[in-house]
């Protein structure tokens, strides 16, 4: 009897292990439903998520972000060294990697891919070299990441070694090299027809580009010669379908026409929860929605009490519950909690009308008396970090009224909003804005958004010497543990000085049909199909 039970138990254990460790199945077509079509497929020149989504699967960069974080791991470069002064990066490249057109991946391809974005092309090839054609347009990411001020020259010292000489120490440099714009393309394919490369992309990634029907679908097929044999690609084909209307996209998922549905309506997420054929894939977004002040004018510039009063007056939990519809978390710091450098000691400003009134009185405006009507700029479009700027504006205005501050909502067409905001006009008091992180580096939030002393194009023109110094230190320190401490200090300064009120980090929830396995959302928003398979 005991023997029988033993055999039975062993069988059960085996069965369980069998299902848990089910080997990924090869083949199949996955249809991914998304809200819009790609603009172009040349990673150096794109700026939108729908374009990067395809690039993520066709191209690869020297360094990779890990599966669900922005920690770095070797990519097309198998290793790298940094010189003691932090200005020279030497990358050793992977050998035996081939582009989809059959040409070999080597140091010259790296020099070509990155070098073509430089304004002043200080590049050296190892082989016979290539004449990089003039830029068709501005490589927007390259420019906005200030890469021309960072990279001095790029050199291929042998077939599989590339050296980057930097003009200045720039700690986030390595993380930048993992971003889409730094993807490596096939020089041969590019040179064949530079103007059409964005419609015929050729990289080293797990999937090859096959076909593009504008506004309808992009089809990728498996790259059978993919260099990394340890995992995928498993899928034979991935089809990215554009279905602009959120509800229709969700209905298509229910009907089985697509297997993954990007950006569903929050109301549909509840329906998805109840559907036994659908599972939800979640990832806290690497983003922040905030409300800031016009720091170029009084009273905002120097009245800290007033800034604090507003921070206490806003019921941010209510915004997350009702307007984000639960798909988000109230922010305490301007960087998301998943990012290194996050300061857990910051308590955040709770919703507290009494405190708000007290601060308002200390600011010199007891019960709001003496403070003229202020303007509250609210965003006209939904963004990943803020689903409905106008609704949030209305809620904020109501909250402010409770403490005696009367705020008028102002909104413009999105382009005008962005443009006028940067000009910090006199008729702007408070403004909503936000950010989605690029590379997982705190510098990409804290310096880019709030260090007004660094440049006049920083959206929040807050001028604080201590904060500015910390940002500079952060860039110049290469050791990550030390940098984390610097940013924690900076977050404390941020909390004390309230240059902006952080509202929320949104959570990304995408429903998928049950057979979709190992699909993970990445904090950067990139969509990777490499290890995905269908049960």
């Amino acid at each position: 009897m005991l023997k029988k039970i033993g055999v039975f138990l062993t069988l059960i254990v085996f069965l369980c292990a069998g299902t848990a460790l089910a080997a990924p199945k090869q083949g199949g077509t996955l249809v991914f439903g998304r809200g819009g079509d790609s603009v172009g497929l040349d990673p150096a020149y794109e700026t939108d998520g729908n374009s990067f989504m395809i690039c993520d699967n066709v191209f690869e960069a020297l360094v990779f972000y890990q599966d669900e974080s922005t920690a770095l791991e070797p990519g097309l470069a198998k290793s790298w060294t940094i010189s003691p002064d932090g200005k020279t990066y030497t990358f050793k490249l992977r050998e035996g990697v081939k582009f989809h057109d059959g040409t070999p991946f080597n140091a010259d391809a790296v020099v070509f891919s990155i070098g073509r974005m430089m304004k002043d092309r200080q590049v050296k090839f190892f082989g016979k070299g290539l004449d990089i054609p003039a830029q068709e347009r501005v490589p927007e990411y390259w420019v906005s990441m200030e890469m021309d001020d960072t990279i001095g020259s790029i050199e291929a010292t042998d077939e599989y070694t590339v050296v980057f000489n930097l003009k200045r120490v720039e700690a986030p440099f390595l993380a930048n090299m993992g971003m889409d714009f730094a993807d490596i393309i096939s020089p041969t394919a590019f040179m064949k027809n530079p103007k059409e490369f964005l419609r015929n992309p050729v990289g080293t990634g797990p999937f090859k580009f096959e076909k593009w029907v504008k506004d309808d679908r992009i089809i990728l097929v498996k790259n059978a010669d993919y260099w990394d044999k340890s995992g995928g690609p498993y899928l034979a084909k991935v089809v990215f379908r554009s279905i602009p209307e959120n509800s229709v996209r969700f209905l298509e998922l229910k009907a089985g026409g697509i297997q993954i549905c990007q950006f569903p309506n929050p109301a549909d997420v509840d329906l998805a929860r109840k559907d036994p054929n659908i599972k939800l894939i979640e990832q806290p977004g690497m983003n922040i929605g905030y409300l800031s002040f016009n720091h170029t004018k009084e009273p905002w510039k120097s009245n800290l009490h007033l800034r604090k009063a507003i921070a206490y007056a806003l019921n941010r939990k209510a915004y997350v519950d009702n307007i984000y519809q639960g798909m988000g978390q109230v922010a305490k710091n301007p960087i998301p909690p998943t990012m290194w450098g996050y300061n857990t000691d910051i308590p955040g400003y709770p919703y507290d009308i009494e405190m708000a009134k007290k601060e308002l009185a200390a600011a010199g405006y007891p019960e709001g008396k003496g403070l003229p009507e202020i303007t509250l700029w609210s965003m006209p479009v939904p963004r990943p970090y803020n689903p409905d700027g106008l609704k949030i504006g209305v809620a904020m205005s109501a909250d402010l009224a409770k403490v005696g501050i009367s705020a008028r909502i102002v909104s413009y067409e999105w382009g005008t909003y962005l443009k006028r905001q940067r000009e910090q006009p006199d008729d702007m008091d408070l403004f909503q804005l936000g950010w989605t992180g690029d590379n997982g580096d705190p510098d990409n939030f804290l310096a880019v958004l709030f260090d007004g002393m660094a440049s006049s194009s920083i959206r929040t023109q807050w001028q604080n010497k201590e904060y500015h110094q910390l940002m500079q230190d952060g860039k110049l320190t290469v050791d990550q543990a030390k940098r984390a401490e610097i940013y924690k200090t900076a977050l404390k300064v941020f909390y004390d000085e309230v240059p902006a009120i952080v509202i929320a980090h949104s959570t990304v929830i995408w429903p998928a049909r049950n057979p979709v396995m190992d699909f993970k959302l990445h904090p950067t928003g990139s969509v990777r199909m490499k290890n995905v398979w269908l049960k």
Binding site: T29, V31, G36, V39, G40, Y45, T47, E136, R137, V138, E140, V143, S144, E146, K195, L198, R199, V213, K214, D215, D216, R217, V239, R241, S242, I243, P244, E245, S247, V248, L251, E252, K254, A255, G257, R383, Y412, E413, W414, G415, T416, L418, K419, R422, L433, G434, W435, T436, V448, S455, S456, S457, R459
Partner: protein, 334 residues
């Protein structure tokens, strides 16, 4: 006749030119900046300047217009801001989808609308008349958006009869020649694709056809009613002709003129007004493309697209005028 048509075609030129001026300057009067929208939150002044310079947006408006006109004379509609593609290639890729949809929708509305209108007119004040005119009223006032979703829920999700969105199922291969899928599948003898393409077009076309159907039905009814009161109809009836002959041979042809005008105009409306239908059914046509261009301030697309649509509109009007003469020989071209 030929001289008339030629003259009409020549008149197109100043019309289009005038339109291009209006569109061009109106675009530059509306707020918004494509460079700003391209870069979003991350724009730096330097990057914005670079982009504006590359796109030629920092030149004075009249210089930009001059460049546009020069390109136009060379038959070039320019290059789109966002997708960096020749505008006419983009038009070529999307226009067939819209025309295909509009033609099928128009076919449905002509057949349905005229049948409803004729029956209503011949049985004025009957239950059927009231019902069909009530239907027409509902058809005009029903939001396309809502109707489309209801159709989807009912015919796709619950019954599973029709595909929900798109032009072709995933997995169905079709070699495109003209980009008219129905035509292409016939040309290449691909019957599976033909069936699939037709299956896909039914629901969007039907949704799109509701408003024109209603309008055509009402137009046919009132026009028929007027004709049916004429003396020659009485004569025809007195001659002892059958009801069928009276209605279809004597009345209908005379009643058709205002209906044809309506149909012509409706076709234009279908072409330009398919935005909602195209958005709901993920139909990759011109409407959605133009709408996105307006939102993104893609000046090149808006200019090129409107010019193209305007030409189509003018051609349709011309066709309608010519059709008059065919239907009613009494109308002579002056």
């Amino acid at each position: 006749m030929l001289a008339y048509i030629t003259r009409r075609i020549f008149i197109m030129i100043p019309t289009l030119l005038g339109m291009s001026v209006i569109v061009f300057f109106m675009l530059h009067l509306t707020p918004g900046d494509p460079a700003e929208l391209l870069m979003g939150e991350r724009a730096s002044e330097e990057a914005l300047q670079d982009i504006r310079e590359h796109l030629g947006l920092n030149k004075p408006v009249y210089v930009q217009y001059g460049i546009f006109l020069k390109q136009l004379l060379q038959g070039d509609l320019g290059e789109t801001i966002w997708t960096r593609q020749k505008v006419w290639i983009e038009v070529k890729q999307r226009f067939p989808a819209t025309i295909e949809l509009a033609v099928v929708a128009l076919f449905i509305s002509c057949v349905l609308g005229m049948i409803l209108g004729i029956i209503s007119a011949t049985r004025q004040y009957s239950i059927f008349d009231y019902l069909s005119m009530l239907g027409a009223l509902i058809g005009v006032s029903m939001p396309i958006f809502w109707l489309g979703l209801v159709f989807m829920l009912f015919f796709s999700l619950n019954l599973g009869w029709l595909p929900m969105s798109g032009r072709l199922s995933v997995g169905v291969e079709l070699q495109t020649i003209t980009n008219f899928y129905v035509l292409d599948s016939i040309l290449t003898g691909n019957w599976e694709a033909l069936r699939d393409a037709l299956w896909h077009i039914i629901m969007p076309a039907f949704t799109l056809s509701t408003i024109p159907t209603a309008i055509i039905a009402r137009m046919t009814r009132s026009s028929m009613l007027e004709v049916l009161r004429q003396d020659y109809i009485k004569t025809a009836k007195a001659k002892g002709l059958s009801q069928f002959k009276v209605v279809f041979k004597h009345a209908l042809r005379n009643a058709l003129i205002p209906v044809v005008t309506t149909i012509g105009l409706q076709f234009g409306v279908l072409l330009c007004g398919a935005i909602l239908t195209e958005t709901i059914f993920a139909w990759p046509g011109v409407g959605k493309w133009m709408y996105d261009a307006v939102m993104q301030r893609d000046y090149m697309v808006i200019r090129g697209g409107t010019l193209f649509l305007a030409s189509i509109f003018i051609v349709i009007n011309l066709c309608v005028d010519v059709l008059y003469a065919v239907i009613n020989p009494r109308i002579k071209v002056q």
